[in-house]
Symmetry: C2
């Protein structure tokens, strides 16, 4: 048994006029509660430091740069790193990353893994959802394809907290490739955050499906790779738009062992035995004995479906 | 809307002394009921024609040849093909296939798709579960790796019944690669059968997980590829060993729209609109816009996990 006590720190709505310092204050409170509960790691959501700005169309994307971080830690976020060191707790945090490369500004939807106050891993979101162009008819925008570049770091893993860790972000969790690439590196815990609008702007669908698909994706990814999955929501109402809650800790059997009850700031905690997936990995999902890569070629050869004649 | 009325024909336990003719009689009854209910297609289980013989260890595997078909249709199975033609109903059937190639006997866990009494598609199981050697300590055997070769036909699709069809068999359903390879060919309905022992002989686990993992796998595969999935169980007690039931028809949203109630011969029916997945395929799962194959390389490059240093 390799026990790791972990928290998912759900964060309620962040309004456009809320300052970084105010948000960081909320996160520090959650981190202190997690440390007080004996957690070694606390998982914060995607784009945690501001309101979910891809809902706004801005003609000039640099007008959105106020939502981005050019350095982490920066003056307003340093207290999170200091608290990590002081409290002996690691954290995962999603944020909008602005990188200046010469004359060029590059923007990513990024997450970091921190331990002892130091960044030990960085991931940039690969599966950007939504659209790049203004949709004036939609009730709100989902312009991640406008504001961010596709992540260029792949899906790495890190040895940390006594196990093998991976990260992904929000829409990545709907894609089985995300979990499988991590699974093929022996991942034991995947941490992620999300901002998922309650309403699908692209097509009408029954409202309950948003939460159902969220849970289904986490649970299948966990089971099929025999890994823990810890997912933290930014949720509730932001500037009149509502995001789903449902922060969850999922075991390698695919079962939800902890789930948030509300849609505000909330901590959920679980004692995760990193060895729970070992039997599955040795038998049903012994990849060495069962996977047949000679029949999987299309997964990497082909991006989009080709229909039969 | 492209409506297709489909049945999954669950088949209760088949005892070792039951003849092919007796079994085919049960299948004909189910097929006639499906046709009477207006179905265009009925899905039978995996290895439908005999008891699940991989539970038995036989020193000489050719001693098991009595469980295999050397021709389909053969004398005992021809009535199924005749009924398909007469009733205007297609069927999917799993069986043990023995192929004589010169001096060599090849054995596969196979399924066919039949319409108008003619075989229009064949699939051979790729993900063979279990083990190849006798496990004398186990309560029963799961010797699929002994009795069958790995399928050599890949995961093809066929235009049939007004849509794009794919097949897989039993353990294939636990592997996201199965659904994705089919999804990359525009599959709209995946049909499959299974024989899933109620007890996991490889390691102790809570009994409810068998059914949970079965449903989770079907539901995730359906949702993540926006396809219907129709799964038929051979189930109940066979020669003292129990197999799970849970035959199900799953929509492209991942929801179970019909599920068996018992563990005997039973028909479940659903009116499947093959267009239900269209919106998902155009937006959330618009593979052309969202998949990033440049980050999926490990899925085909690597069979087994490689852990970080």
């Amino acid at each position: 048994m390799r026990k790791l006590r972990v928290a998912a720190a759900q964060v309620g709505g962040i309004q456009p006029d809320e300052t970084r310092t105010e948000v960081v204050g909320r996160l520090l409170d959650l981190m202190e509660r997690a440390a007080g509960a004996g957690c070694r790691l606390v998982v914060f959501p995607e784009l945690t430091l501001t309101t979910f700005f891809p809902r706004y169309f801005l003609e000039d994307i640099s007008s959105a740069d106020t939502y981005f971080e050019t350095a982490l830690p920066g003056p307003e976020t340093r207290p999170l790193f200091d608290a990590s060191r002081r409290l002996g707790i690691g954290f995962h945090l999603g944020y909008a990353e602005l990188v200046r490369e010469g004359d060029r500004n590059r923007r990513f939807n990024t997450a970091i893994l921190v331990d002892g106050g130091e960044i030990i891993g960085k991931y940039r979101k690969v599966h950007l959802p939504g659209h790049a162009d203004h949709l004036p008819e939609a009730p709100f925008q989902h312009l991640e394809k406008r504001y961010f570049e596709v992540g260029d770091l792949g899906f790495p893993v890190w040895k940390a907290f006594g196990g093998v860790f991976g990260m992904c972000i929000c829409n990545d969790r709907r894609w089985p490739e995300t979990y499988r690439v991590l699974g093929l590196q022996g991942v034991e815990m995947i941490v992620l955050g999300y901002n998922t609008p309650e309403v699908n702007i692209h097509h009408r669908e029954p409202a309950h499906l948003r939460m159902f698909h969220h849970r289904l994706s986490l649970q299948a990814g966990a089971y099929q790779n025999a890994t823990w999955v810890v997912a933290a929501a930014k949720c509730g109402v932001e500037d009149g738009s509502r995001l789903i809650a449902g922060s969850a800790i999922v075991s390698p059997n695919g079962e939800i062992v902890a789930e948030s009850a509300g849609e505000g700031d909330e901590l959920i905690v679980a004692d995760c035995d990193l060895d729970v997936g070992t039997d599955l990995k040795r038998h049903v999902f012994d990849f060495a004995r069962h996977r047949r890569t000679e029949h999987y070629g299309l997964i990497t050869e082909r991006t989009a479906p080709v229909l039969p004649d």
